[in-house]
Amino acid sequence: MREPRNPFRLRAAEQIESELSFLRLFGPGMLELLSMQQMWERPQILRSAAGGGKTSLLKLFTPSVLLALHANRGHDDVKELYQRLAEFEIVDEDGSKALGVLIPCNRNYANLEDLEFDGARKERLFFGLLNARIVLSMLRACISLHSLTFPRDLDRISLKEGTEFLNGTRGPQPLNGTELYQWAMRHEAVVCDAIDSFDPPDQNLLSGQETVSSLELLKPGVLLLDGSSVAARTVLMFDDVHLLTLQQRTNLFRTFAQLRSGVAIWIAERFEALSVGELLSSGTTEGRDYNVIQIEQFWRRQRKKFENLTANIANRRARAATEVEVPSFEPYLASSLDGAEWQEKSKEILLEIQKRVVEQTTGEVKFQDWLKHEDLTEGTTRDRAVSWRILEILVERERGRSQGAFDFVLPSDDLEERSDSQIRSAAELFIARDYKLPYYFGLPRLAALGSSNIEQYLWLAGDLFEELISATVVRESTLQLNPARQDLIIRRASDQLWKEIPRRARLGERVLQFLDSVGRFCQQMTFLPNAPYEPGVTGIAISMADRANLLDRQYLTSNPDHGRLGEVLAAAIANNLLEPILDYKCKGTMWMVLNLNRLLCPKYWLPLQYGGFKEKRLDELASWLVNGYRVTKKTESLL
């Protein structure tokens, strides 16, 4: 394949062939997801929307990658990753300590359900095929971990004496690597042939097993290479588990919970595996048997870490570019509007707002001290414009609050107290929208627009990087992307996301209609003149009681509209278009908050901060599915 022109366009796990390239592009911050204490004890379930970084994380623990990591541990781009994995006791100076066995579930397991057999037989076939594939992957991993040749060196692999792996099945027990390989290959071939056959399969040829008996082989000290244990630790990793059937997934989870084999088990799956009920209860599934890591939720709780991770990944990708030399991404993204090119515009804005506020407050004694506040005369032109806009919002609030009250002078300190960072953000947003200034620019906002999803972030950053490449080609004098250009590129990406919703998501048209309603509603709430939900509203919330109704079959039978709403919400959550937060306490009630994916926000000039949401009843939301959101008279009067 050709050299990558824009490395941001590569998906780490699938498209990067060389192990060293993979390691150079891997952000060590991803390891924050794993906990040293838990990762070896309970099965870990990594769950996210597509592009959350699950496959890359699992790939990191495969033997060839770990060997490359060890061999390149002195390399600047790999050092930190090596240190972190050394802390996890995965690698040390002698090499890799762990045998990582990766089992992709995007194979034909689900097709077993279509065979005309009874349930028990299908379950046995499933476990049989899974065992064969675990054995095949395990043997390859062993050979790779010790840099041997496959399949020539399989004979050097043996099993601890007394190990019985194929209990209760016909034929002799495999005793060494070659015999295991032959058994597994034959078993897999028979099942695959049966699935892909034009004629009905011969039941007598198909055998299976009762459980994941291959775990026995992965226990420390069971698999031997030249008589010594293959590795100190073993981790069995299942990727794309959402592609199994519901029954298979349930059987697999149940078996791992019961087996307690001593083998570390990691399971990666997308939200799409979850039922409507599970999707609407995302985040509450942690139990004794499993440790569930919801990747997007994890980053939402640790925004700074996500920002650092994405900045690190962006720098790595930028350095990998062949057509442009960019050692670090951040300096190439202008991050303020204080430059000389914006000075004239800022002056114009300042004068206009100043004039407006003075006119509005003329004759009102109570604002006279506020109008003399030092913030209104100090700082850059842009700072002053923002301060005047804050004043305008506060005047609006004060008017709403004290109609009919006495016209006492409001102290200057009062203005300072009320001017917190939230209202400043709101004022900046109001100015941006009123004067069509760029708003979505700079690295922190780029990270926020990633909405806790690595792939989404890479996509956006890739769009911006494309401009750098073009600027290099046409030999622009400066490579730095100005705020206006960044804003334009991000808005285009946002528009594309909106446009693709009907095609990407199940029930796409309804999801689009619903999200569009949420967006319009949020916009109206955000830009109320007194900015009551500073810096803005970017989500809605339903009470946990209403959420329980959406999970109640009986309730849904008598309220089919709410059933449809539940399905639309689930489809939007599964595609990471809505970001759920459960059990959010507000006004003495528990809420399920549904924030818009941040990349949906630019269409409606919404801020990227979280926290602003409005509570809604199911009836109203269900009506948005049919008629869309309509401005109420009450809201209209406020606008």
Partner: protein, 376 residues
């Protein structure tokens, strides 16, 4: 396998040529004809049947109508009226002329999993199903790929089985093509993941051959970026050989597709420009030849290293998709497993329902005589 392609000589006719062929064929002997077609909102649904019935001739005429159980939430349900209209037209056509039976294709399993391709392959299980017929026509105009791929493959298989028993029937595929209509029918709610078509999983599933490189041959069509991305995620190939429709009625069509997918093909998937193949947009047998030749070339070149896993996908017209299927079928029967990667959608949206009916009248019916008398 034989160095001579099974369809190196073929019978393909379109428009008035096809009508003449059908008239001659039907008049040549008493023919018991079975027509299989899908029930849907697409106004091209009845075009094939009409041509066959208008061709005249004697013998039994039998219709097997495939109905799709898509579930209550399918966006296609918005077009119930169009389906009713098509059924009313069908009723007029077949009235007193042909017998009819219906078969249901279950699209979803009880656990919410797609099973359409498996259901389609199991619609007919035995060569006896067609023992009474001299000719079987499968009209794929209103059938999604996930249905007609396994169905057509199964019919080819049963036809061969019948032939071995000395009772062969002629197998035809019909498809009414209209690029302007295809442009009006927008796929909605693309599945989150692609999958291999039942019977054509190829060798890609086998862990025992994990190390063998995968060669992916996607046949490109317009507005399919999401589908292509998701198919790529499924296949994760080492080599990609896209097929562009050229020559085409619109001579710039191939260029337009390259512009549409420039970023995906060259930046993300890093396709080598020299890997791009071309095939006429109106000749599925040319696609068949290109796919077959490419797969055999890669097998030969990579043979010393253990071979490769070829996978084909079509996000283009049904006519061209048929060519990909024929290549995959022939190679599968020669023990060279070829995967067909496919991604489905939850439904379709019609841009302009009224315009669609008018456009249907301008579509061209293609007929592919796939096996039977002319190949003996």
């Amino acid at each position: 396998m034989s160095s001579v392609a099974r369809w190196s000589n073929y019978v393909l006719a379109a428009g008035e040529d096809l009508n003449s062929l059908l008239r001659l064929h039907c008049a040549s002997a008493e023919r018991n004809i079975c027509v299989i077609l899908g029930q849907g909102f697409d106004p091209r649904m009845n075009i094939g049947l009409r041509s066959i019935l208008e061709a005249g001739g004697t013998g039994r005429r039998h219709l097997i109508l495939l109905q799709f159980d898509e579930g209550a939430s399918s966006p296609s349900r918005f077009y119930e009226n169009a389906i009713k209209q098509n059924l009313a037209d069908l009723e007029k056509l077949r009235n007193g002329v042909c017998t009819t039976e219906s078969k249901t294709v279950k699209m979803w399993g009880t656990d919410g999993r797609r099973i359409s391709s498996h259901s389609a392959a199991n619609l007919f299980s035995s060569a006896k199903d067609f023992a009474d017929f001299s000719d079987v026509f499968l009209d794929i105009s209103a059938l999604p790929r996930s249905i007609f791929y396994p169905l057509l493959a199964k019919l080819l298989y049963l036809q061969e089985k019948n032939s071995r028993e000395g009772k062969h029937f002629n197998l035809f595929a019909l498809v009414a093509e209209s690029p302007e209509m295809d442009g009006q029918i927008i796929e909605e709610g693309v599945d989150e993941s692609g999958d291999y078509v039942h019977l054509f999983r190829g060798g890609t599933d086998r862990t025992s051959s994990t190390g063998e490189p995968k060669v992916w041959i996607p046949i490109l069509g317009e507005r399919q970026r999401i589908q292509l991305e998701r198919l790529y995620e499924l296949v994760t190939p080492q080599e990609i050989c896209p097929i562009l429709p050229s020559p085409a009625l619109n001579p710039r069509r191939g260029d337009d597709l390259i512009i549409e997918y420039r970023e995906l093909l060259f930046d993300r998937l890093r396709v080598e420009p020299r890997n791009i193949l071309f095939a006429s947009e109106r000749n599925p047998f040319e696609v068949y030849r290109q796919v077959r030749k490419t797969i055999l070339h890669y097998q030969k070149a990579l043979g010393p290293l253990g071979g490769c896993h070829p996978v084909v996908s079509s996000v283009s017209t049904k006519l061209l998709s048929t060519g990909a299927l024929l290549a995959a079928y022939e190679l599968k029967q020669a023990n060279l497993a070829v995967g067909i990667a496919h991604i489905e959608t939850h439904g379709y949206r019609i841009e302009n329902e009224q315009a669609l009916i008018e456009m249907a009248t301008r579509s061209t019916l293609f007929g592919l005589w796939l096996s039977g008398d002319c190949y003996v």
